[in-house]
Symmetry: C2
Amino acid sequence: MPMRDSFHDDLDGIGTSLVEMGHLVSKAMERATTALLTADLKVAEEIISEDDAIDEMQHDIEARAINLMARQQPVAGDLRTLVTSLRMSADLERMGDLAHHVAKLTRMRYPAAAVPPELVLTLQEMGNVTARITQKAIGVIESRNLEAALQLEKDDDEMDILHRRLFEILLDDSWPYGIETAIDMTLLGRYYERCSDHAVSIARRVYYLVTGEYANSANN
Amino acid sequence: MPMRDSFHDDLDGIGTSLVEMGHLVSKAMERATTALLTADLKVAEEIISEDDAIDEMQHDIEARAINLMARQQPVAGDLRTLVTSLRMSADLERMGDLAHHVAKLTRMRYPAAAVPPELVLTLQEMGNVTARITQKAIGVIESRNLEAALQLEKDDDEMDILHRRLFEILLDDSWPYGIETAIDMTLLGRYYERCSDHAVSIARRVYYLVTGEYANSANN
């Protein structure tokens, strides 16, 4: 009995660490967006140097999850929770990488602003949607609420609309910036889209964990 | 004793399926490159429709790995092998998605060729390097050879060089194609780079599995 209690404490501890990691990643992405849109080198440098901390958090969560599996031989439900934790920590780690990419692009173009005025609003909205989806994904890790998990798919539709708008602006005949800016914007659009995809994927993993069924097989 | 034998048969079976999945993904990416460079709609459509089979393979490998963990309560070494299999199947699934993306871009531009003549060679080389890295990653899954695992890092350097060359050509003042082609090339470059990254990541996972140490923390 005390063994099982300690097991569930450790299992809860992994859940808590995942949520903490989620907040860290979410904050990194939000600050990366601010740094990008205000050409703030200092903040960009901070995000770049903080990525290691996110990677270490993932390694720590993984080690604890595998250790629990090995020592405690959990029953099927707890085992699925642990496996899902491994996957979610991988999603979060990748989201951290993408914040890091946004910060690196900011640094590369500094002291110029990477994003031309015509696209500031669209990128800001992409950042907002990513932040909202990420916050919701963290909520789903905590609550395991299936309604909330399904809702993320809709937020992701918004991201698709923004992504299309980005390309429309780039492809408009009046686009006055050259190829380099178009390349930067294409990559940025991809980073935000992928970051949202990973948040949606976290919600799907929770959905699968709870129901044993896939919420949606679409993925890109 | 018969129980352990059946366990190791099942474990070997998962390894075999991973290798099969690797060959499927590798073939999909090679065919996607051919379709891209020859504007072959038929092959592009095949790859697009075959992605579901790759996804199903991943689900199957995952289900078998989790089932083995739950039923057999493996010792630490076997458990790590199973967890690593889960991760490698996720890498392979994502590589399949990227082949799918290349095929979709091919279809979107058909009957035109997506890649302008100036970039055919660079894209072909990116495809070749990706194919070589992927084949080596599959070999590492089979052999667990650490030397071979480390070698993939060097192949990845080649991909970085090709990626830079791609941007140099796009940014040359004489680039005669517009923004749309530049966007396409940026995305394609990213798809090949990410596909190689996942192959390298597979080799790193094997390295970690065997040694308990990280081969290299760099990742993008």
